[in-house]
Subunit: 444 residues, 2 copies
């Protein structure tokens, strides 16, 4: 049968993986897809790199002019692996305008400009597939969009950034501080030279934005996401959390609540007994709670050449099957039909309900704990657990020194927690700032 012709824009890590897997497994992929899927054009600014990856493969045009691939009438599907919002956006929109289907791994582009891109694709009757944009090789987009269609999704919580999970795992194992571990991760290639988007939660926020849209049938709402990273996380909080039976993970969370949708990325304590708490190193995992199915978990490699290439190719097979079909037979881009999306608002963080981990340093004097407990009670916050530790400089029982108080609260509203923290910080006996982390039980 006539092959599908694919043009690949960007042949770095993921492009190289996609090219290699598509070549290696060509026969088996064709047995599934019903026809060969063939990369016939590769565009990259670095022609040498492109030539190296393509090697002796026959019939592949190599160019540094990506738009010439986008405009090539012989190309059926454009795979965009350039990244960023600039040229990538122009290329994707032009491919759509040319009536080509698009497969992309670009979460930033879709989280920020997805509404415009999906609308253009809808109008042109082409597909924009993005399995590779979230959690690398894990088919999580397909699971949520097609596997759980029976469900009213209640929430999703995911470890969807491998760099930060590697750093957190290593901080826990070694007891070393963030900056040290980050430097090692950079040396090992697990963190980029500029790691800001990873460590500050922006990458995870792009991904949870996409998951939120397909779970709840809304447009993408990245600009509404609450984003906190792990760069301020202290090694001692990982240790204290451990003592209390929790692991700290950077979670992307989206949840359906009475007032709308929660959309947030931040470090959180998770009970150590949960499967997701035991996802270590660069691995990713996404927990999805549906009203009918209950909790389901999806685990695997969230990055890397071939795992991400695996997701790109899965999309290519899907598009290959459906590219000549009536658009009504296709799965909608955002899981719900385009005319059925609802503008459900993202609730402000102050209204989010959560349990909290609080760590405060206090002067070790009588009445200090009573003052703290009173402030929490005044804000209707119940205490679930507490540990007190003498700060390092004094011996136990010596008195007059400083102590760390670590509290776990029951669920409260964030604005109440904030109000209580502000008052605790005003106490004369409180030393410095209160460390506040959220606690997610992830019970199902």
């Amino acid at each position: 049968m006539k092959p599908i012709h694919v043009g690949l824009l960007g042949i770095g890590t993921v492009g190289g993986g996609t090219f290699a897997v598509l070549a290696r497994n060509a026969e088996e992929i064709a047995r599934r897809a019903g026809r060969p899927i063939v990369i016939t054009a590769v565009a990259d600014k670095n022609l040498e790199r492109a030539r190296e990856v393509v090697g002796t493969a026959a019939g592949v045009r190599i160019t540094d002019d990506a738009m010439s691939v986008v405009d090539d009438p012989a190309i059926d599907i454009v795979v965009e692996l350039i990244g960023g919002y600039g040229f990538a956006k122009d290329a994707v929109l032009r491919a759509i305008a040319n009536g080509k289907h698009v497969v992309t791994a670009n979460k930033a582009l879709l989280a920020v400009h997805g509404n415009e891109i999906f609308a253009a694709a809808q109008q042109k009757g082409v597909m924009v597939a993005f399995e590779a944009a979230v959690a690398g090789g894990i088919p999580i987009i397909k699971a949520v969009r097609e596997g759980l269609t029976a469900n009213r999704i209640e929430w999703i919580a995911g470890i969807i950034n491998g760099t930060t999970n590697y750093i957190l795992s290593t901080m826990r194992d070694s007891g070393r501080p963030f900056a040290d571990v980050l430097a090692d991760a950079q040396a090992l290639g697990y963190a980029e030279a500029d790691p800001t988007w990873d460590i500050e939660g922006v990458d995870a926020a792009h991904k949870i934005t996409l998951l939120s849209a397909i779970a709840f049938g809304t447009p993408v709402q990245f600009e509404q996401a609450h984003i906190e990273g792990i760069s301020q996380l202290a090694a001692e909080d990982i240790r204290y959390a451990e003592e209390l039976g929790y692991r700290i993970k950077l979670l992307g969370i989206t949840k359906r609540v009475a007032g709308g949708i929660e959309l947030r990325v931040h470090p959180a304590l998770v009970p150590a007994k949960r499967l997701i708490a035991n996802v270590e190193g660069v691995m990713n995992a996404v927990l999805v709670k549906g009203d009918a199915v209950g909790a389901t978990l999806y685990y695997g490699r969230g990055a890397g050449a071939e795992p991400t290439g695996s997701a790109v190719i899965a999309d290519l097979v899907d598009v290959t099957r459906l590219h000549t079909a009536d658009p009504e037979h296709r799965v909608p881009h955002l899981a719900f039909r385009a005319d059925q999306l609802e503008n459900t608002p993202v609730v402000p963080m102050s209204e989010v309900e959560s349990a909290y981990y609080l760590r405060l340093r206090v002067q070790d004097k009588p009445g200090v704990l009573a003052d703290v407990a009173r402030i929490l009670a005044d804000n209707a916050i119940s205490i679930e657990a507490m540990i007190q530790k003498n700060a390092a400089q004094k011996e136990p029982g010596e008195g007059g020194g400083e102590a760390d108080i670590i509290l776990l609260t029951h669920i409260t509203r964030e604005q109440h927690a904030d109000a209580a923290i502000a008052r605790i910080e005003e106490l004369a006996t409180t030393v410095g700032r209160v460390t506040r982390l959220r606690l997610e039980s992830l019970a199902s």
Copy 2:
């Protein structure tokens, strides 16, 4: 848009869950599927039960004549939840002959008669969807069949029977013997009155048969599966495994090897640090290793009314989208195009390679261990770990009693392990039979 009309055959647990979820989430499901999916006929021998489930829902015909639903020209999709190979097979084949699509949760039917059924469906150009047949609410069929299409699948290992996983978890937690725990499971409704298919591994074998076919592009080969259950498993082996850092799980395994495909169900030791080793109670999990993606894991509820109903409805949405499409646009029943299936043989168990856990009771005399070690060496089997325990009746150091020797071997061929075991059992110092369990590292 015109609704899709569904006829439901069998309204027990799963049928009831399907009916309830489809009613409760009707609006959200229609926003995804593009049209309402409506159950307009329900057939069950127990009319009273059917009336109870349907309740006051309008426009639902209730009948005890399932074939009248299968023959009803107003029905687009038949959902078969009767179970078994007898009437269910006739009903499914007749629905296909009538040009209707079929959704079924019936793993026994498809594992045993799937080749006939899929061939009939292929010829008629209708779909037979079976997400609910494996691992309940976990969208594992979709993940393997569509999410991992880039990959040459290397192996799948799954906890795909909740009853046995509940029993094994409880045996480990409580230290109690199999028969006691089974009785409790029956009282709690986690095991059926006749639990044979669950505890002897037959149900898991049905499911791994289906996963094997879609992973490797073969017909279903249930009659070739090697099946061992957990009814012979001793509580002490669970304890010893734990001491050695392993959990015992009933696994369905299928693997691509040089000589063909392995297809087997048996209890196995799994390293306790693996995520899948920590899947407890009635939960299911499936680990899939692809050459590009590496290991991915899928976890959730493997049974129950609404989790299984979730899978049935996901199939209904898929079929709804594609039912008027050209069959070439659809995902093939067994993941590979029907004309692309290969008759890859299942290798005999004697040729399977595995590591082993061996437990033998011996007379506590000098030279016993040397004899055992010599026999293993003669069969080219290396020892990975060993523990020796005095049997209960004697005090340590007393001598002249009996001891348990527990050995973990490196990987060997099953026929070598069998040969070594036979010779060990012939030793005058060996008391009774050698207990032999396989050990799966599930490394990725």
